[in-house]
Each structure stands twice: as C-alpha cells, then as structure tokens.
Amino acid sequence: MTDLAVELPGMKLKNPVMPASGCFGFGREYSAFYDLNKLGAVIMKAATGNARFGNATPRVAETASGMLNAIGLQNPGVQQIIAEEVPFLAAYDVPIMANVAGSTIAEYEKVAEAFNHAPSVNALELNISCPNVKEGGIQFGADPDMAANVTERVKAVSNLPVYVKLSPNTADIVTMAKAVERAGADGLSMMNTLTGMQIQLSRRKPLLANETGGLSGPAIKPVAVRMIYAVKPHVSIPIIGMGGIRTAEDVLEFLLAGASAVAVGTANFTNPYACPEIIEQLPRVFDHYGFASAAEAIGRGHDE
C-alpha cells in the first residue's frame, strides 16, 4: 500500500489533499456529502477581525476551464468562527488551518492572536494576496517588504506555524517567497488567484459587481506549477500547492514541482466529491508512476 502521509509544520496529514480556503466554507456543507475524516486537512474560509458582508453580487463568473470570484472575504468574524465553526471541525480527526485576512497589519495581528485561543487550530494561512479586498490585501501580496513585515508581525503574536499564501500577480515570485521565509514563515501556500475580468456584452460592463475577480481552476494550473517549481530550490520551508487541481495526476504534478501537500478549490464546485475522489485515486497514481509514498515524490521533478 502506498503511504500517503505527509508531515508539515503543525500538521500530520493522512494524505496530502485538503480543500482550499474559501471553497469549502467551514466544512459543514461538504460534511453532508462525505466523511471529512477522509481529508488530509481542512483550510477554513478567511477570517477577519469583525464580520464582513463582502462584495455586491454577482460574485462569480465562469471562464474557459476556470472561474472568477470576488466574494470579498465575507465571514462572520474571527470570534464567531472560533465559537461556532472551529468546534464543528474539531470533532473530526483532521488538522485545521485557519485562513487569516485583514485590511491592516493590526487586523492581521488581532485575528492571528485570536486563534491562539482556539486549541483545535493547528496552523495559520496568512492570506496576503486576496485580490478582491480593495482597502488593503493586495498591497501586502505585491510587495516583498510589506509581505515580510506582515509575516514578522503575525509570527510575533502567534503560537502557531504560519504559512504565507502568495499571490501569482507578481513579476518575481522567488523574491516574494524568500522575503517571507526570511521573515519567519513556516511554510508557503502557492498560490492564490490571478486577477481577471469578464465583460458582459449585453450590459457592456464587467460582469462581476466588483469588476475584477480572482481566476481559479484548471486554466491557471500551468502558472501555479511554474511558480512552485521556481520557488522550491530557493526555500527550505514546505509549500502547500494549489491552483487548478482536479485529479490525482494533478496532485502528483504539484508534488513533483515541489509542493509537500496540495489544496483543492474550484474542483469542489464542479464535483462536490472532488477531494475524496482524488484521495481515493492517489494510491493508483503514485503506484503507476513508481512512487511507494507521497513523501518521496516531493520535489522529484527537480532531479537531474
């Protein structure tokens, strides 16, 4: 039997597959489809300091092999997430990652600090790259110094391993990755969505109320693989890979590129059973390509 387990700072995963932030809520809805214990981990939807309503609708659009979203970080606020949502997920035997967002560094600190008091949360994913938050967000993800700064400040207040989620909307992903590693990041999440737009011909206007949205799904997979492959040799912290993963073969592709685990976002929408079905196929795929374990595939695309 193929050994699917992988170990990451703060998390021991049965298998390297977890749902991506914002695509799985806090797990309740998908728990109606399958047993969440099958998952490697769960990444929760973004938490901000207070409740946020998010953007006006429409918030999503479909694109060729992908979609745009501009949800705008709608969430009930970190306190309610800790009180209402974390306990639901804590009942499962699955590591929990909290996705931390904010418009100011102080808000990131506040949210991160709050999760110190949620013992079931195993790690933080620092969302410095949400392209749909107009006040802040975007700048942190676009500038290495600001990214390093928010990383450092969050590390200073948090007891948990901190994974920094990078934006692909940059000319130089390697510099970004090195900057946040130096600032103390325990891991990287790569990647968030590419900024895109769709114009609705009948209205002669951008379809999304927010005008721009984040492009996700299979369309962006080659960009994610390229960025992970580029970053891997330059960092020694692990990478959680994401961007267009739909099949077990895709998971192996990300591991070969350098990811230690992966997150699945958009594919949950096309198929609510995407995660467990991918996990079920993993042993066959690892076996077919000659790997006895998930761990031994990590980064092997860099071998001479």
Partner: protein, 251 residues
C-alpha cells in the same frame, strides 16, 4: 437531503422558442424533491454547474421534469443531450416552496419567462391540496409561451407578453388587479419583475423565488447571497433559498 445523482434522460423536447423540456428518471430525486427546489446540473466541459428548477414531479414514474431556456454554452450543451444519456446533478437542492405550512385558500402565481417552470410544480401541488390556483404568466412573445394549457387546466390563467403577440400586451403587474382576490402570492422571474411585484403587493403575504450566479451551489462559497432583514444580514440563495418570504429579502 441532496445527493449527486446520475439521472437518466427520458425525453427532450423543444416546447417553445429555445425552451427545452427534459424528463429525467431517478427514484431518489423524484421521491424527495419538492416544488421550488432545483437541480445543480453539470454541463460537460464546464467548471460551474447550472441551477435549473424542478418544474414538476411524477413520484409514480420516478421522474422529474425540468424546463430551461438556451442562454449560453451550458444550456446549449444540455439542449443537445438525448434520451438514453445521463445527466450529472446535485439535488434536490434548495428549500422549495413551503406548501405544507400554509392554510392558503387561493394562491396567485406570478411567473416571468424561465421563472414559470417552478410555479407549475407548485400549482400541481397546491391543487392536490385542494386550493384554488390563479396564474399570471409573462413571456417575451407568443413564440416563447409554454405550459399555457397545463396552467389553464389547473386554474384561471392570464398570459402577458412583452410584444402583445398573445394575451395582454405589457407587464405581469398590469393584470394584478384583474386577477382579483388571493391569500398568498408566489412569484418567480427576473429581479426587476420581482421588485415590481413586491412593490405592488406590499402588505400581502407572499413568496419569491430568486436567481443568482452560483459557485458551489451548496452553501459553502457565499457567491449567492441576498441581503435580508435577519440578524446576519444575508441569506444564501442556494441553500436558504431560492424561495424566501417576500418581506424577508431586500431586492
């Protein structure tokens, strides 16, 4: 509880201009579906599923019927399906119309275009419960009219068209007075129509069925929110809806 199901396509028929009626077989879906719920349908090669209302339910034959208009590439793909193929759906999705709790005597159904199908299943159910049903159905033109006879068999039916090629020439709200008394109304159609109905029938008890672009279709992504007067300030159309009390939502 909704499930992913492979439904067998039994018939596919164009019942009006660009409007397809499709009968689908699946014992679980047919047994559990309620009027006003929808199927979240996969169109091959597409990332997002398409929400399509259940237009009627035949529990004996284990079938449900959907009706949809060809709008873009997803519905075009669905229209090209043939009997014998299978359709991948997640359903029955959403809350549906709450007909059991109501002590309605007369119901007024107000549908616009592709908002008409879910009202048909509702009409059938209300009739079975012994209630009186009246319907105002709005369409673009005569070529777009469907289910006129079916509704007429159930109750008094007013047809309204944008261009006057059949029925009243104008808007569904124009014939509200003509339709007379009723206890509850049920409305489904484009937002501007629902707003007009909500306005004109302020004070009346009523239900509206809403549309919004969806991501997950299952309550997790918050793509499909609508502002409400409730504490959280919003509801999700895909799971809390698509049917809401008319005074609950802010259109």
């Amino acid at each position: 509880m909704k499930k992913r199901a492979e439904m067998a396509v039994e018939t596919v028929q164009e019942v009006a201009s660009d409007t397809i009626e499709m009968k689908l077989y699946h014992p679980y879906i047919a047994a559990t579906a309620r009027p006003g719920q929808f199927l979240y349908v996969l169109a091959e090669g597409h990332t997002l599923r398409r929400p399509i209302s259940i237009a009627s339910i035949d529990r004996e034959q284990s079938t449900v019927t959907i009706l949809f208009k060809i709008i873009g590439s997803g519905t075009k793909h669905l229209a090209d399906m043939e009997a014998g193929m299978t359709l991948d759906v997640v359903g029955p999705s959403g809350n549906g119309f709450a007909t059991s709790e109501t002590s309605v005597q007369t119901a007024l159904l107000i549908g616009g275009g592709i908002g008409v199908p879910p009202l048909y299943g509702l009409a059938e159910e209300l009739q079975q419960k012994g209630m009186k049903v009246k319907a105002i159905l709005g369409f673009q033109s005569k070529a777009h009219v469907f289910y006129k006879e079916q509704f007429e068999r159930i109750g008094q039916t007013f047809i309204v068209t944008d261009d006057g090629t059949i029925g009243h020439h104008g808007l569904v709200t124009d014939v509200l007075d003509e339709a007379g008394e009723f206890d509850h109304y049920y409305s489904c159609g484009p937002i501007p129509m629902l707003q007009a109905v909500q306005n004109k029938l302020k004070g009346h008890s009523g239900f509206v069925s809403l549309e919004e672009r969806m991501g997950c279709g299952t309550g997790a992504c918050l793509a499909c929110v609508i502002r409400t007067e409730t504490e959280s300030g919003y509801k999700k159309i895909c799971t809390d809806g698509p049917v809401f009390a008319a005074d609950e939502v802010i259109l």
